[in-house]
């Protein structure tokens, strides 16, 4: 693929550990800059807060009025709630793949991306985590999923994938937060030491938890970070496998398939890389990261993006194949409905956005045309949303019993919740971008200095 073209370096020539630290600290601290917070940030933050407000209203009304405000009913009992949950948790995967998996593989292009990618993971996992609670009829009893000693003498049903899901998400969210925060410690200490105002020094100082950069601290830091990376990499696979099992464990048409766990891991990788590209491309210019996030990074992300798109394409083919190879007449009927029926635009939209358009990334020139890559990434996010729509809604709408067939139309309260979580995602992400170091400085310095 690379051909005769020169591969761009991972870091622009002339950059040193010193210049890197100064430049990244300046992005966050902006000492002496006017306005202190850039206008693009305020504009984006205002939009995010507006969306978040819609979400708060949607949740408030949901808690007051109950699940009846949603369009879900028999037979489509899972609607946008579960759809959005699966969509968000898949988006969260990108950060973990880049940050943990490629840390273990020791690739050099991972270092400039991991902080932003992990922050995306954190924000998306947060959005995902609220949906399983909201979709309960009595959300205040969500903790019944947890096996705690209670006066009812009841224990969680460990044979149910939904219980595994609870544990998988809980573990994933907690581990992501710890991994992200732990990786931040040396950089927070750097900010503490470089900040001018007393308030900022205390803010970053408290967050840095007393990291002073002593030899002993570094030794502990490196081993803990490696162990956490080694935990996170299998965790991201297990969490999406279990999301797949939420479906595969049920006997609904189109769900009861052994390929679902890997299928969901592929889908997660695709939307994960898509959202990393979506965030990195504009932030690269807005934050002035051209020297550290080079064309090499965009090229690599484009290749990963294409690879995961091909994996997802394989899963779609196998989905069709196993339906017609298998013995279940109801599965075939449902599949034909999916492809040619009422929800056919959803199916073909999925194929077009997730499989067809990403094929453009075979060309290096396309991979390096940033607006085009950005649009393909946006298309994939929409496409992955549509994919979950066809998995959840068409399967439930066309069950084994034709007399129980139905359809599903989301209400405004389901849509507003979707846009509300987009607001939550953007709000938290923008806060992190503004307040936290956007590139892992300590790791970049180690890379620039070369092997000791």
């Amino acid at each position: 693929m690379s051909g005769p073209a020169v591969i761009a370096p991972v870091v622009a020539p002339g950059e040193t550990a010193q210049s890197l630290t100064e430049r990244i600290c300046a992005v966050t601290l902006r000492e002496g800059a006017r306005p202190w917070t850039p206008l693009w940030w305020w504009a984006a933050f205002a939009v995010s807060l507006g969306l978040l407000g819609i979400g708060v209203i949607a949740v408030g009304w949901l808690f007051y009025a109950g699940l009846g405000i949603w369009g879900i009913d028999w037979p489509v009992v899972w609607g946008l709630d579960i759809l959005n949950y699966v969509w968000w948790i898949a988006i969260a995967s990108g950060g973990t793949f880049i940050s943990a998996l490629f840390f273990l593989l020791g690739v050099e292009w991972r270092t400039a991306l991991n902080r932003l990618a992990e922050s995306l993971t954190l924000c998306a996992a947060l959005c995902a985590a609220i949906f399983p609670i909201l979709h309960l009829g009595r959300p205040w009893f969500f903790y019944w999923l947890f096996p705690y000693p209670n006066t009812m003498g009841l224990w969680a049903q460990f044979r149910s994938p939904l219980v595994w899901d609870f544990f998988a998400i809980l573990t994933y969210v907690l581990a992501s937060i710890l991994f992200w925060y732990f990786g931040l410690l040396p950089d927070l200490a750097t900010l503490r030491d470089r900040a001018q105002g007393q308030g900022r020094r205390v803010f970053y100082g408290v967050l840095a938890l007393g990291f002073r950069g002593s030899g002993r601290q570094w030794r502990h830091y490196r081993s803990v970070y490696a162990v956490m990376a080694a935990l996170m990499a299998p965790l991201v696979v297990s969490v999406h496998s279990i999301v797949g099992m939420d479906f595969a464990g049920s006997a609904a048409t189109g769900w009861h398939s052994t390929q679902f766990p890997p299928f969901f891991v592929f889908g997660a990788a695709l939307s994960g890389f898509a959202v990393v590209l979506l965030a990195i491309l504009p932030l690269r210019s807005l934050l002035g990261l051209h020297a550290y996030v080079t064309e090499r990074h965009i090229d690599v992300l484009g290749r990963l993006f294409l690879t995961s798109s091909l994996c997802v394409g394989y899963a779609y083919v196998m989905d069709a194949f196993s339906t017609f190879y298998g013995p279940d007449e109801a599965d075939r009927t449902m599949f034909l409905m999916r492809v040619f029926g009422l929800y056919a635009p959803v199916y073909w939209g999925t194929i077009l956005l997730n499989i067809v358009f990403p094929q453009l990334l075979w060309w290096r020139s396309v991979r390096l045309t940033q607006p085009l890559v950005w649009l393909i990434g946006l298309g994939v996010l929409v496409g992955m949303w549509l994919e979950r729509f066809q998995i959840i809604v068409t399967s439930l709408a066309r069950t084994q019993l034709p007399s129980a067939w139905g359809h599903y139309t989301p209400t405004i309260w389901e849509w507003s919740l979707l846009f509300g979580t987009i607001g939550l995602f953007l709000t938290t992400f923008l806060l992190i971008v503004r307040l936290m170091p956007v590139v892992a400085m300590a790791e970049m310095r180690a890379m620039l200095r070369g092997p000791a």
């Binding site: 705690y148 000693p149 006066t151 003498g153 009841l154 503490r192 007393q198 938890l209």
Partner: protein
């Protein structure tokens, strides 16, 4: 540039962190223990009644059978409380002028039932049937305690779902021969059939007694 934090900061952070852990642990312990306390479950609370009826006097002292007053316990979901006529079986003859029994006499003369306060209750979403329990070997005492020792009646057991399930998961040890259902302070002796035999005799075990619909209908 002066240091941001004094050495004291380490102590403060340590105390705050330990305190946070302590609070979390404390809340968990409280959350565990509070619903189990006799205070929350009202165990051992004698409830104010219109007439201070003594089970101790009537059951232990006079030897009246449970079914004399709770007459539908073998046939119905409800054990039932006696009508005033039942009280008057005796009290039309003895203690006819006792001030303590004025409410009972008024009830009869005004044809108005005595409104007893409920001592043992389960929530409305629990379907509890007395007749099946007493005819399958569960003694009154197992849930109501030794009422023969209660001068004023109080709730003796927690009656949490866990209390019910403990027995539904393993009924054998709580079963007694039919002859001893209404006995108080009963304990198995060498003549009592072993639990497994009682289970067989009562035909218990054919159905999963912890199925949701056994109690929630």
């Amino acid at each position: 540039m002066a240091a941001v934090f004094s050495p004291r900061a380490n102590v403060i952070v340590t105390v705050v962190m330990l305190g946070a852990v302590g609070i979390v642990v404390g809340v968990c312990l409280w959350w565990f223990a509070w619903p189990r306390s006799d205070y929350v479950r009202h165990v051992g609370w004698a409830i104010q009644q219109p007439v201070p009826f003594s089970h101790q006097h009537h059951v232990a002292g006079l030897g009246i059978d449970c079914r004399f007053c709770h007459s539908s316990v073998e046939r119905s979901a409800q054990a039932s409380l006696p009508p005033t006529f039942t009280c008057m079986t005796c009290h039309s003859q003895i203690w006819t002028n006792a001030a303590l029994l004025a409410e009972v006499r008024d009830s009869l003369s005004e044809n108005r039932p005595i409104v007893w306060a409920r001592v043992t209750d389960v929530p409305d979403y629990v379907y509890f049937n007395h007749s099946i329990h007493v005819s399958k070997g569960v003694g009154c005492e197992s849930c109501h305690g030794n009422v023969a020792r209660m001068p004023l009646t109080y709730k003796a057991k927690t009656l949490t779902m866990q209390f019910c399930l403990d027995c539904h998961r393993d009924p054998g040890p709580n079963l007694r021969p039919l002859a001893n259902i209404y006995d108080m302070d009963w304990h198995p002796d060498h003549a009592t059939p072993p639990p497994a035999e009682l289970m067989r005799a009562y035909h218990i075990g054919g159905r999963n007694l912890t199925e949701c619909s056994i109690c929630h209908r």
